[in-house]
């Protein structure tokens, strides 16, 4: 058996990219190859490789979970959860976070080069599923010499991947943490995504997705998609508290269509800053993958049977103001886990921040994750 890798192994560290030959067989029937996966690792794998944690990111997230983002310069998106002295700690854990396939931060996606035409895939990129993303992560683990995950953790779409892991690779997962997520995309979830996609495709600069060679990209459409989605990440109470009906930099309404209200100005800013770092076609592909996600459907309609082969411990967390993936969705998972006899924990935490709560300051969440991870060591 190979010994644990040393730090000078160039597979490990920040800002890594692996080109794996594949082909990766996709749920659609198509095959993808080669498969590029951009990722980061933190900490060191121990001798018996028993300290590996995979972090899965959300729709517009990336592999920079705990290091500064190369485009925005902002700290890693989950620095509150991952880092020195945090529940997921590189001093104890070997942490992997990879960019999902279909995305645009270095993993294979619609902006990648299609070897068949030696140009960007654009809409020729195969439609993906959440399970495909997970299978690509499994390929990366093979590449890194990781057999088993001591835990897989994710929020939102990351939670969908985390929950899919033990259903697809029951022997490779010991614990699974699913935060603010669901076992299937609801009609309302699909509806919001369709609004976003239609905004992108209605942008004249989208041009059927073949915009990579041009200076003009469908940024207006992507910005609108982001604005609509961003509302679903917040709560009514949170918006009221943050903005209310306050006006933006003016004393009176203009009787025009400028951003009179602070909330309008905020959303416009969210939309504009998003297009700097994200590819519109990736947004189409990833939202589609989320819409296709329904774990029960893949197991004859029974969610409980999806976990029958797994021995993993599960921890689910929802937030009381999250209306995108409300507590009821987590309860469906919990009931299925109870029915399958799995070790499951679940708690609904209170937060004013809606769906985004999992990314924000929440000491209770850290306490739960920390205790759950350490619980496996008892």
């Amino acid at each position: 058996m190979a010994s644990a890798p040393t730090t000078d192994d160039n597979r490990f560290g920040l800002r890594r990219q692996a080109r794996l030959p594949g082909p990766l067989r996709l749920d659609s029937g198509a095959a993808l190859g080669p498969v590029d996966i951009a990722y980061e690792t933190y900490g060191r794998m121990n001798e018996d490789k028993s300290n590996v944690i995979l972090i899965c990111h959300a729709l517009t997230g990336d592999q920079y979970v705990a290091s500064d983002h190369p485009v925005t310069g902002k700290p890693g998106w989950w620095w509150r959860m991952v880092g020195e002295g945090k529940p997921v700690d590189p001093a104890r854990h070997f942490i992997i976070c990879s960019n999902v396939i279909g995305s645009c931060m270095g993993s294979s996606g619609p902006a990648s080069v299609d070897p068949a035409i030696n140009g960007p895939y654009a809409m020729r990129f195969p439609v993906l599923t959440i399970a495909d993303m997970v299978r690509a992560q499994a390929m990366l683990l093979d590449h890194l010499g990781v057999d088993r995950l001591s835990a897989v953790i994710g929020g939102s779409m990351g939670g969908m991947q985390a929950l899919s892991w033990p259903t697809l690779f029951p022997d490779r997962v010991e614990a699974c943490i699913v935060i603010a997520s669901t076992a299937r995309h609801s009609a309302q979830n699909i509806a919001f995504h369709e609004v976003g996609r239609q905004a992108i495709m209605a942008d004249p600069n989208w041009r059927g997705g073949d915009y990579y060679a041009d200076a003009q990209v469908p940024s207006a459409g992507l910005a609108v998609a982001r604005m609509a989605a961003h509302i679903t990440y917040l709560s009514e109470a949170g918006l009221t508290e943050k903005f209310g009906r306050r006006l933006q930099g003016r004393d009176a309404k203009t009787f025009g269509f400028d951003a009179d209200f602070q909330v309008e100005s905020y959303l416009r800013h969210q939309g504009l800053s998003f297009v700097e770092r994200f590819d519109a076609n990736s947004y189409l592909y990833i939202t589609r993958a989320m819409d296709y996600y329904d774990i029960a459907e893949d197991h004859g309609g029974s969610l409980a049977s999806a976990f029958a082969a797994s021995r993993a411990r599960f921890c689910l967390v929802s937030f009381d103001t999250d209306w995108l993936y409300p507590t009821a969705e987590s309860r469906i998972i919990v009931h299925a886990l109870n029915a399958s006899g799995a070790q499951a924990s679940f708690v609904e935490l209170s937060s004013p921040f809606g769906h985004d709560a999992f990314l924000l300051e929440c000491p209770e969440l850290n306490r739960v994750v920390n205790g759950f991870l350490k619980g496996g060591r008892a």
């Binding site: 411990r313 921890c315 309860r331 919990v334 009931h335 109870n338 029915a339 006899g341 070790q343 499951a344 924990s345 679940f346 708690v347 609904e348 935490l349 209170s350 209770e364 306490r367 739960v368 920390n370 205790g371 759950f372 350490k374 619980g375 496996g376 060591r377 008892a378």
Partner: protein
């Protein structure tokens, strides 16, 4: 570790067989579960309604699900536990009879503990004072108590008989000491029953 538990929990903990599978309904912060795990290698799962308690229990590495005994027991399969435990929660449920029925479906046996409302102190308080008892055991006033179905030892025995359940054991507590079965309905502050179908 067991000795530090509340007296009814300590009594239950001593009775549970090592390596058993246990569901603790209304597990609070998981004190009983942790004691069973650490002293008897019990595979313990919990159900608890209060989010803060659940967070505390999960924080100590226990498998606890936030939920309601009245509505969420239905999701557990038949005979999936050796014991289902309901300690001092019976009197707070909407339908105690249905909850016990679910416990006996899920567990091969069920421990049920509750404060005895017919203890003489409560009787005197009602008889002489004409007021709902506020005692050491029942410290809350009638309007803010969580106890919505007050029950006595004899009431519970009558329910057991009516439903045809079997009593495998019964224990009575006065303070933190065990007391006799004789006149338990008058002298016991707490009752612990071990039942099966």
């Amino acid at each position: 570790m067991i000795d530090n538990l509340r007296p009814d929990l300590a009594l239950i903990a001593r009775m549970v067989k090592p390596d058993a599978r246990v569901l603790d309904v209304g597990c609070g912060e998981g004190g009983l579960m942790a004691a069973l795990r650490d002293t008897k290698k019990v595979d313990a799962r919990g159900l608890e309604i209060d989010a803060g308690n659940v967070a505390a229990a999960v924080g100590r590495g226990l498998s606890v699900v936030q939920g309601d005994a009245d509505t969420d027991l239905t999701y557990y399969p038949d005979a999936s536990f050796d014991y289902a435990i309901l300690s001092q929660t019976l009197q707070t449920t909407r339908r105690p009879d249905l909850v016990v029925d679910e416990l006996l479906r899920i567990g091969r046996q069920a421990f049920v503990s509750f404060p005895n409302f017919a203890h003489w102190r409560g009787r005197l308080s009602l008889l002489w004072g004409g007021r709902m008892p506020v005692t050491r055991l029942l410290p809350d006033t009638w309007y803010d108590t969580l106890n919505i179905h007050h029950v006595t030892v004899d009431d519970f025995r009558a329910l057991v008989k009516e439903r045809g359940w079997t009593i495998d054991g019964q224990w009575f507590l006065k303070g933190d000491k065990e007391t006799t079965h004789a006149n338990a309905n008058l002298f016991a502050e707490h009752a612990v029953f071990l039942l099966r179908r």
